[in-house]
């Protein structure tokens, strides 16, 4: 009977700690949100499942490999251990995802109306105000965030998952689980979070503003743009170069038209494979001691605040620009500056159609939408640079 006793003692039930059980429920909730509610399933299905796997007591999914003194492996590590340390700690997975996103991005609307870059800049205010909020919570003794942690929390407001994961894995890896979950959850909640803010900050007349049709953009412009952006980043903001460099590389493969087979694989097999393992790896950081604490509540709260401020800043920026320009912008497209491509652009379109059923804002909103990706990557670069020096 010793064997049954040993099997039973090593069973999940006997080893399970309360925290692990709760985290497995958290994983199931994430899966429910992803599958039942359609919240960013491409990431939340792997993250939710990874959360469950990482919290199975005794399964060793994030166990480190053990080597003897001669360097021979005595017991292999767990799958999530290799995934996390190979792909996330090194920053490789977010960068490859960014390459794939670049290969999927159409900069046409942005090139037709480059001013919308400013909307993508404005929406990053949410990031930095939230950093201030996080340190303020520390100041008032409510929660205790370091400046590195505060910076990582702020980046949730960038509404860009891989950027958030890239920054957090560099500045505050312990918060990776909570921040990634918050980032993707709020991206999924864009259709619920944004419209009230957009309506509150605009008049009916503003929401009815019709925008000129976008000019056609030549193939040459599309090819030269990622290179221009790359050179500018190289000259001015090298800390943003990893993210934006890979983004521009993906986009150049797409637009150059001479490496279609590479571009196709980047947009399909490669980004899919990396997405699966990125999600699983993030899930491996969803342990009870790192997730079940007041800080996570603070992160979720601050993340929501960051999103709201970002949305509001984008809308207000559009109104400010209308003051100084003859060519009027519908301020609703300012909300798309948070990125969350293409959801935020669709939301702008939908709210616009409510005000005027003939007013199609989708393509106009794609400009600030992709500008928001650039904006938050720039913000990430600045953040990493400044915080590393603090």
């Amino acid at each position: 009977m010793d064997q049954f006793y040993s099997l039973w003692m090593s069973s999940g039930i006997m080893q399970m700690q309360a925290g692990q059980l709760i985290m497995m429920v958290v994983g199931l909730v994430l899966l429910y949100l992803a599958i039942g509610k359609g919240f960013e399933p491409l990431l939340l299905v792997p993250i939710g499942f990874g959360t469950i796997l990482a919290n199975i007591p005794g399964a060793g999914f994030d166990a480190a490999p053990v080597y003897n003194a001669l360097g021979t492996m005595e017991s292999p590590g767990g799958l999530l251990y290799y995934v996390y340390h190979g792909g996330i700690e090194t920053g490789l997975f977010p960068l490859i995802i960014f390459m794939g996103v670049g290969a999927m991005t159409d900069f046409g609307p942005l090139l037709a109306n480059p001013k919308t870059l400013l909307l993508g800049a404005a929406a990053q205010v949410g990031i930095f105000v939230t950093v201030l909020g996080a340190v303020a919570l520390g100041h008032f003794g409510i929660l205790d965030f370091s400046i590195r942690e505060a910076a990582s929390i702020g980046i949730i407001g960038g509404a860009d998952g891989p950027t958030a994961i890239f920054v957090t894995s560099k500045l505050a890896p312990d918060l990776l689980g909570a921040i990634a979950v918050a980032a993707y959850s709020y991206m999924a909640l864009v259709p619920i979070i944004q419209p009230p803010i957009m309506r509150a900050l605009t008049t009916d007349a503003e929401r009815k503003i019709k925008m000129h049709q976008l000019r056609p953009v030549s193939k040459a412009e599309r090819i030269v743009f990622p290179l221009s952006l790359l050179v500018l980043v190289a000259l001015l903001l090298p800390d943003a170069a990893p993210l934006l460099g890979m983004f521009c590389f993906g986009n150049l493969m797409r637009e150059s038209g001479v490496v279609n087979r590479l571009s196709d694989t980047t947009q399909n097999a490669l980004i899919n494979i990396v997405t699966i393992f990125l999600g699983l790896g993030v899930g491996s950081k969803m342990s009870a001691e790192k997730f079940l604490n007041p800080e996570t509540m603070g992160i979720l709260l601050l993340g929501a605040v960051a999103f709201c401020i970002g949305t509001a800043s984008g809308v207000i920026m559009a109104k400010v620009m209308n003051r100084f320009s003859k060519e009027q912008i519908n301020p609703l497209i300012g909300a798309a500056g948070v990125s969350a491509v293409p959801m935020a652009a669709r939301v702008a379109n939908k709210v616009g159609l409510e005000a005027n059923p003939q007013n199609f804002l989708l393509m106009h909103a794609m400009g600030p939408n992709v500008a928001g990706v650039i904006g938050s990557a720039v913000a990430a670069g600045v953040m990493i640079n400044l915080v590393s020096g603090m």
Binding site: Q124, F128, G138
Partner: protein
Amino acid sequence: MDATLIDQGIDLLLYGMGTVFAFLTLLVAVTSLMSVIVNKLVVEVAPIAPVAIAPQSSVDPRIVKVIQAAIDQHRAS
């Protein structure tokens, strides 16, 4: 130390947003300029393109030449 943390937050806000705005404003300028230059160059290069595409017209260029010669002869006569 706490005060320093808030100072750091304020610094991040000011310098961070400053840099983001500065960079993207510059990018607006660079992009606009780039579009102008690139499209100008493309227009200058463009006249070559239609010619290059011409042989794709359904009429054989040699036949066009023959017809043209016939027309010229007719006009000359």
